[in-house]
């Protein structure tokens, strides 16, 4: 988040779902809106190492016009900065942060005009009160019951290998500096209600107590919004992360996906027999309704339940394979790639499934993303035994045909793709058509029949071929002579060359390994 954005605006775009939820709601999870867009080029969805779930309403929030503040608010702000109200133990930046948050929350909940600003506590006083509460009773905010010494490390583990290696060598990694301040602060409940787990954190005060408090609050966030009225969390202490798998006891078949921010609650986790029924239900629903947004969400929670219970068996493989195929069919490559990455790990443990089918997809996928380093790894994974498999052999042939520019072979392979590989090949077939046209226009003079293009480049009809050519070039390139349409290759010049270069820009897909 850029610091140049005025704080009122910045928060609007960062603000995310939880504040909007009434605390009396009873679902045991936060129903984050599932992604509906299938546009795979847009990195709009959370990746496995992403930080927050995208809230579908946030773009609208960001577009909100600037709020005009009523006079009481202004005078409140003035009083905040008055020297006589200063509290020595509360830093100025800390106070401002709090103030920003108070106002933002008020503005977002539409209470700018209803709050009695003259009587509202000043932010510095709020901070002090909160601190006193925490210090007086450190366990009061412990929602999870047990403490989890390992969780901060876990939360950042995925990132550490990359972000932390920034050679600029700053002591605290970038995400620490920027994120936790506004993002997590804003997620906490409305400040005037005086929630006890609402603590202002100062980066500069390095006390461990602060970190501890933040962690607890963070832990609480995932759970207490959802089920304040269900069984008291203290009665059912969740196991520590490293203490081993959770054993679920939720009988419900369906469950929305929510990214975990704390140890999972066994009450909301479904055990294996339930999950098996869930899969059957999902398969039926997918066939009948074909609602991808719903299915994807359900599969993600299914996968999550498997993970937290450390279930790794043939069923796990089956779940990932089915989700991968569905994602593939819908062109959701981000999700597909997540499954593919996990499947690679699972296949390595020889748990069954269809490793060769997915090895073939993996190769096709890397052709599409043009990730040669990963391709090299994928090739290294292929055994002599795998090569006998039709799908693997096909994928390898596709790769080598492209590497050598043999478009003739490439397109005859395209027309004869096993399994669901065609969904993947569709992703890059137009790109390769342009490459082929660039070569054809350079090599053939003065012209070729459009029929030749249709056959060589795997089009369904001459019309489709002609349309494709026209989309990328100008009508002068096509000429009708004695009843046949010809492509004037001699006149194409660099047209297709440029289109090819444009199409071959590196594909960027989030969630890629």
């Amino acid at each position: 988040m850029s610091s140049s954005i005025p704080p009122w605006r910045a928060t609007a775009s960062v603000h995310s779902a939880p504040t909007a939820f009434p605390t009396s709601a009873t679902p045991a999870y936060i129903p984050v809106q599932a992604r509906r867009s299938l546009n795979h080029n847009k990195p709009t969805y959370p990746t496995t190492n992403g930080t927050t779930n995208q809230n579908p309403s946030s773009p609208a929030d960001a577009a909100q016009p600037r709020v005009a503040f009523p006079p009481p608010v202004r005078s409140y702000v003035q009083r905040c900065f008055a020297p006589e109200n200063e509290i020595p133990s509360v830093g100025n930046t800390e106070m401002q942060e709090k103030l920003r948050q108070v106002i933002t929350d008020a503005a977002e909940s539409g209470r700018l005009h209803t709050i009695d600003w003259d009587k509202l506590q000043l932010p510095q006083v709020m901070i002090q009160n909160e601190r006193n509460k925490i210090l007086a009773n450190p366990s009061v905010s412990s929602w999870a019951g047990t403490s989890q010494p390992s969780s901060p490390a876990d939360a950042s583990r995925k990132r550490k290998s990359t972000d932390n290696l920034d050679p600029s060598g700053s002591a605290s990694p970038p995400w620490r500096k920027t994120n936790n301040r506004n993002r997590f602060e804003d997620r906490v409940t409305y400040p005037t209600t005086g929630k006890k787990n609402h603590i202002k954190l100062d980066e500069s005060s390095k006390s461990k107590a602060n970190l501890e408090m933040r962690r607890r609050r963070f832990e609480g966030a995932g759970v207490n919004y959802g089920n304040p009225s269900t069984s008291s969390p203290i009665d059912s202490p969740r196991p520590e992360v490293d203490q081993g798998p959770v054993v679920g006891r939720s009988p419900t078949l369906e469950k929305n996906y929510f990214r975990l921010t704390s140890a999972p609650n066994p009450d909301t986790v479904r055990p294996l027999p339930v999950l098996k029924k869930t899969l059957d239900l999902l398969k039926k629903k997918w066939k009948k309704e074909g609602n991808y947004g719903y299915i994807c969400d359900q599969f993600k929670s299914l996968r999550q339940d498997l993970t937290v219970q450390h279930i790794r068996n043939e069923f796990t493989v089956n779940v990932y394979e089915i989700h991968a195929r569905i994602a593939l069919e819908k062109g959701d490559l981000g999700e597909y790639n997540q499954c593919q990455t996990q499947l690679r790990v699972l296949y390595a443990q020889k748990l069954g499934g269809n490793p060769t089918e997915f090895k073939a997809y993996r190769i096709l996928y890397f052709i599409y993303t043009r990730n040669w380093t990963a391709m090299n790894d994928a090739l290294a994974d292929v055994t002599a035994e795998d090569k006998k498999d039709l799908a693997v052999k096909h994928a390898l042939d596709v790769r080598s045909a492209l590497a050598l520019g043999n478009y003739h072979r490439f397109f005859s392979l395209y027309l004869d793709t096993p399994n669901m590989g065609a969904y993947l090949m569709d992703m890059f077939v137009d790109r390769e058509r342009l490459s082929a046209l660039a070569a054809i226009c350079r090599a053939y003079k003065p012209d070729v029949q459009i029929r030749f293009i249709t056959e060589e480049l795997g089009f369904e009809s001459d019309e489709q071929a002609a349309r494709f050519v026209l989309e990328q070039s100008s009508p002068e390139l096509l000429e009708e002579k004695q009843g046949t349409v010809k492509l004037l290759t001699g006149k194409a010049g660099l047209l297709f060359e440029n289109a090819k270069a444009e199409a071959h820009r590196v594909v960027d897909i989030k969630g890629q390994i």
């Binding site: 995925k158 290696l165 992360v241 798998p245 937290v308 380093t373 478009y407 090599a443 053939y444 030749f452």
Partner: protein, 476 residues
């Protein structure tokens, strides 16, 4: 890894008189001598954890952490107060360094003797502490002088070694822990210790790059050594992408760095090699060739292993950029490379496609492992070019016109190229290439500039360029 400075290996008799050497623990004597001569390499020997070194064993037996501070004061710093230019603050850090060093060494001996509680992970953690104290010695205001850098190098070198051992131990014990991931743990944990080591090395890197002391006494001289160490580590943990950050940081500072040539060759050769390979993996073969060539030129004649590594990537580079093959004389020096490249080269020269494919399949595993499969594959185009060139030459000459020198026949039917392919590939009816595919292959060669001319499809002929330029660079 570092050059021994022979200048400072022994203390001459006259100096020995002036310096109060202690009888116990020659490691400490080395420490004194290193400071006296400001010899980094000699200092590095002090901190080389070679458990078979008698001096190290003596050091380990004679001292223990509690007594070490007093011992160092009484035996090293006090007696040589006048000769050693080591400030009080610096002394304090050196004492800490020795204490942590002793502890790490102790773990090494415990591991060696298979004592309970000893493990590779414990060694790594102890060594990590030692390195951290050492780094502190460089980052504090009364910093260790730049001549002591080899000491940092050696600590980093072993940090990497111990981390790899620790990771192997973790993997063999199979203690995979689950975090809050939605999905199953991927394989990112199997390099946990090495990743941690990389972060520490990164601090060394920053330490060197950001030193603002005058260049004569700057840690900037350590920049390439630490960079190489990180390169090596990133390659090992399969995070080649991270190397870009280092290169970017170095580039941003380049105006403050001495010229590349001013650094020790041992640093530069390795650096250029890695930069070359990084470009190579990005399929940026022209840049790769530049850096690899520079590494090749500077590489020590007798460093066969290194020269072989450089050539492993430089040869495929040449094949892609200039379509040249390694000479038999060059390959003869490197049996392993000869095994890799000789069959391929021969097939490319002869235009033997079947042989080429066979050689690629035979070497596939090794090629993929070394990440040279993809560029080598492009050699097939050259083999094909050579085959088609034979067709062209076999086509002979047009009838000479009134005394003019004979001109080669430049209109060649596609069918002739197809025939050549059929002969070359021993095609059966099932696998035979059809005319369209032959045209496709021809079109590709033309497109890539390996052949000059065009295909007239309606007439089924290839019209090749006259004036000895049908196959550029091959004399016809």
């Amino acid at each position: 890894m570092f050059d021994l400075d022979s200048r400072a290996i022994s203390v001459s008799a006259s100096q020995a008189n002036r310096v109060r050497l202690t009888m116990s623990g020659t490691l400490l004597n080395d420490f004194i001598a290193a400071h006296l001569y400001e010899s980094g390499p000699r200092l590095a020997t002090v901190f080389t954890p070679d458990i078979y070194n008698d001096n190290l064993q003596t050091f380990h037996e004679l001292f223990e952490p509690i007594g070490l501070p007093d011992d160092l004061r009484d035996k090293v710093f006090l007696p040589n107060k006048k000769q050693l230019k080591v400030s009080k603050a610096e002394q304090k850090v050196w004492v800490e360094v020795f204490v942590e060093y002793w502890k790490a060494v102790n773990e090494l001996f415990m591991y060696q003797n298979r004592q309970p509680g000893a493990s590779a992970v414990v060694i790594f953690n102890a060594w990590k502490k030692f390195v951290n104290v050492l780094i502190r010695g460089y980052s504090s205001p009364s910093s260790f002088p730049a001549w002591t850098l080899p000491c940092l190098y050696i600590s980093g070198k072993y940090l990497r070694v111990f981390a790899i051992k620790a990771d192997a131990e973790v993997v063999s014990q199979g203690s995979a822990s689950f975090g809050f991931q939605d999905d199953l743990a991927a394989d990112f944990e199997k390099n946990g210790n090495l990743e941690e080591a990389a972060r520490i090395m990164n601090r060394m890197f920053t330490l060197c790059l950001s030193d603002r002391a005058p260049i004569e006494d700057s840690r900037k001289w350590g920049i390439y050594n630490t960079t190489n160490l990180l390169f090596k580590t990133y390659f090992k943990i399969n995070s080649v992408g991270l190397t870009k950050n280092l290169l970017r940081a170095i580039n941003a500072q380049s105006h403050d760095l001495p010229r590349l040539e001013a650094f020790p060759k041992s640093h530069i050769v390795t650096f250029e090699y890695y930069v070359g390979v990084i470009h190579f993996l990005d399929e940026n073969y022209i840049e790769a060739e530049k850096h690899l060539t520079s590494a090749w030129r500077m590489c020590h004649r007798q460093a066969l292993k290194n020269r072989e590594l450089i050539l492993t990537y430089l040869i495929p580079c040449h094949l892609v950029t200039t379509h040249t093959l390694p000479s038999p004389r060059l390959l003869a020096q490197f049996p392993r490379l000869e095994e890799f490249f000789r069959p391929l080269s021969n097939c490319i020269r002869k235009g033997d496609l079947v042989g080429f494919d066979r050689a690629m399949t035979a070497g596939e595993e090794e090629f993929v492992k070394r990440r040279i499969y993809l560029p080598l594959e492009r050699g097939r185009d050259i083999a094909l070019r050579n085959l088609f060139r034979k067709v062209f030459i076999a086509g002979g000459f047009e009838e000479a016109k009134d005394g003019q020198p004979p001109i080669r026949r430049t209109r060649v039917p596609v069918a002739e190229f197809a025939a050549a392919l059929r002969i070359g590939t021993h095609a059966t009816a099932r696998t035979r290439v059809d005319t369209d595919e032959v045209e496709c292959l021809l079109a590709n060669l033309i497109y890539k500039g390996l052949m000059k001319g065009y295909i007239a499809r309606e007439r089924g002929i290839v019209v090749l360029s006259k004036n000895n330029s049908a196959f550029p660079g091959t004399g016809v």
